[in-house]
């Protein structure tokens, strides 16, 4: 093959590995009860976040779901702050008040971490509306699963974004299961991209296990959105290798199906291709793994050293600073 930019592809590989190794450690930490609550891992789906976020700039915004560790990390939230958040300590990116499902980082324009399926879509539409009203050329990327297309908020948001020609990139992470409900068991029309097309939104399916394909599609879509092309929609066909959350007997899918998808592990696919083209060797991969491992170790150490938010501050941030009360007249 020709035209593969080795440095760029290797960078994407490293980005996926950062997410993968971070989350593998999260799973261990969960079994050690260092992390509690719900923990939804993105293992298998890394090519989606890596390929999309590669095409966003610092001023662009991200609205994601409760499976958002990778999105926050690749948008620029330090791994230290993400791990600390899962530990529930004050140094976490949400001060320990959000947890795994609610990673926020206003400085990097990461607006959650929304754990209501479909609930992030209207917010993304509004962020884009603000940009349009203010005349800014920023893009808001909104991630959601295929389960969200059954929600009314999905359809309302598609319509509003298209009607008002807003700069939103809708990224549907179609991993085939809404928790345990297969797409075909929940939708009369299983072609997700068609639903967006019905709202006059340019939309197309993308192989979500191929980070280069995602990167390519995202480059095209982000460019169009940024240049006044209105909302765009990518259906990223991917697969979740692990349980929905940490407790899941996986009664709803065959082990053979999981094995088949694992054969298309996005990290292996890219690493194999880089090797075939002579752009990566064992030493190169080992270097990447070592850098990533050091980052993960550093993040865990940071979280371990975290401090608990004093209970006295429990009700802080329910409202902002006390209101500058004026006289009632």
């Amino acid at each position: 093959m020709t035209g593969l930019d080795g440095a760029h592809a290797t960078h994407l590989l490293e980005q996926m590995l950062r997410v993968r190794r971070m989350e593998e450690r999260c799973a261990e930490l969960y079994t050690q009860t260092k992390i509690r609550g719900f923990l939804h891992l993105y293992v298998g789906e890394e090519a989606v976040a890596a390929g999309i976020l590669e095409n966003l700039g610092p001023d662009d915004a991200v609205v994601a779901t409760y499976r958002e560790h990778g999105h926050a990390l690749l948008k620029g939230t330090p791994m230290t702050a993400i791990l600390a958040e899962m530990y529930g300590v004050a140094e976490g990116c949400s001060g320990g008040r959000g947890g795994s499902m609610h990673l926020f980082d206003a400085a990097n324009r990461v607006y959650g971490g929304n754990a209501i399926v479909g609930g992030g879509l209207p917010v993304a539409v509004g962020l884009a509306l603000a940009d349009k009203l203010a005349g800014r050329d920023r893009v808001t990327a909104c991630f959601f699963g295929e389960g969200a297309v059954a929600e009314g908020e999905f359809h309302e948001s598609m319509n509003l974004a298209a009607l008002w020609d807003l700069p939103v990139l809708f990224c549907c992470e179609n991993n085939l299961y809404a928790m345990g409900t297969a797409l075909a068991r929940s939708e009369s029309q299983t072609d997700v991209a068609i639903k967006a097309a019905a709202y006059e939104i340019p939309s197309w399916p993308v192989d979500g296990m191929d980070v280069l394909a995602v990167d390519h599609a995202a480059a095209r879509a982000v460019d169009a959105v940024r240049n006044g092309g209105g909302p765009h929609f990518l259906e990223l066909r991917t697969y979740r290798f692990r349980a929905h959350s940490m407790f899941d007997a996986e009664r709803y899918r065959d082990k053979a199906e999981v094995r088949t998808w694992r054969e298309r592990d996005p990290i292996d696919l890219l690493a194999d291709r880089l090797r075939q083209e002579g752009l990566l060797d064992d030493a190169g991969l080992a270097d990447i793994e070592a850098r990533v491992a050091a980052e993960v170790d550093g993040a865990v150490a940071f979280a371990e050293a975290g401090t608990l938010e004093p209970v006295e501050t429990l009700t802080r941030f329910v409202t902002s600073e006390p209101h500058a009360g004026r006289e009632v007249r």
Binding site: G98, H102, F104, E156, N159, L160, F317, T319
Partner: protein, 326 residues
């Protein structure tokens, strides 16, 4: 001072806000070309154009959520929902997002949105346009709940609400829009943290808000004729409640009647009653009394609707039962 209606006062408040701050815009169903379901925004489209007076599809959840997103993005949206009953379609956005984002993000994400909606009965609109659910919203930490009941508050609360860095819900009782009153045109942004004593009195505290303020005031006049000096408190803000004004009044009058168009069970009137009982029990000469709507979905027929709503005779009866003015 000038005579105006509550509706015109609210319209002037929005016009003023949009003139003063280019980040402010209005969106909702039929706010533009139609002029507002209750004609509150009539004429604003012509003055500010369709970008800032933005008609929406019938998608309460999406346009309220879009208001939240726009607020996160630096705008100061005013979102109008036709009635509180319709706001239930946007409950996810209001309760799960607007109210939580600041806390859930550890203080990073303010949501400076103002959501206005009509509430209340009295216009024979039956059970899907007439309820008073502001007390529900007052249950939720992270929201500020305003209930303007005078032309001055209709005119001047919005300014303060838009300066609030957090989400504010304004409940406008549909029966008040045509109410005329003297507007203090020089008042400026008013306090939205305190209740107001609308009538001073020594014998009983009649505590109310919104659409039942005229009921409480009329009852107080009737009581005066019977030799009972009632104090009327307009709560103005249901969350946070102004405990100080309520309790200091009860400490003087030793009797309290709460008048609330919401249903009695689990209501804001229950909350107020509980707070008085907790904090001023030994000041009381009689149990706290409540005058609320009958516990039925609001019926259409006029006589049934009237029977369901808190009215002057109900307030008088409650005061009589305390041993006053009978």
């Amino acid at each position: 001072m000038a005579t105006t209606t509550y509706r015109e006062a609210m319209r002037e408040a929005m016009r003023d806000a949009m003139r003063r701050d280019e980040r402010v815009f209005l969106m909702g169903e039929d706010v533009g070309a139609y002029g507002g379901c209750f004609a509150v925004s009539l004429g604003l489209l012509e003055e500010f154009g369709p970008e800032r007076v933005r008609d929406t599809p019938l998608s309460e959840s999406a346009f309220v959520g879009a208001g939240i997103g726009a607020a996160l993005g630096g705008m100061r949206p005013i979102v109008e929902i036709m009635t509180v009953n319709f706001s239930l379609l946007a409950l996810d956005q209001i309760v799960n997002n607007a109210a939580t984002l600041l806390h859930m993000s550890g203080g990073q994400c303010n949501v400076p949105i103002v959501i206005r909606m009509t509430t209340g009965a009295g216009r024979q609109l039956a059970a899907q346009h007439s309820h008073s659910l502001e007390g529900w919203y007052a249950h939720v930490p992270g929201l500020r709940i305003l209930t303007p009941a005078t032309v001055d508050d209709a005119r001047w609360m919005l300014w303060t609400a838009l300066e609030d860095p957090d989400p504010v819900l304004m409940f406008e009782h549909g029966g008040l829009y045509g109410m005329e009153g003297e507007l203090d045109e020089a008042l400026g942004p008013v306090d939205i943290t305190r209740a107001a004593v609308r009538r001073r009195g020594a014998d009983v505290s009649v505590i109310t808000y919104g659409g039942t303020l005229p009921v409480a005031t009329a009852a107080a006049e009737e009581l005066a004729a019977r030799g009972v000096d009632a104090e009327v408190i307009d709560l103005r803000t249901l969350r946070p409640l102004d405990d100080e004004t309520i309790l200091s009044s009860v400490a003087r009058t030793h009797r309290a009647v709460v008048v609330d168009e919401g249903w009695r069970t689990g209501s804001i009137s229950a909350e107020i009653s509980a707070r008085i009982t907790e904090a001023a029990f030994y000041d009381l000469d009689a149990p706290v009394s409540r005058v609320c709507s009958a516990e039925v979905p609001m019926p259409y027929a006029r006589h049934l609707e009237e029977a369901a709503l808190p009215r002057v005779p109900d307030v008088l009866r409650a005061v009589e039962e305390m041993g006053l003015g009978g």
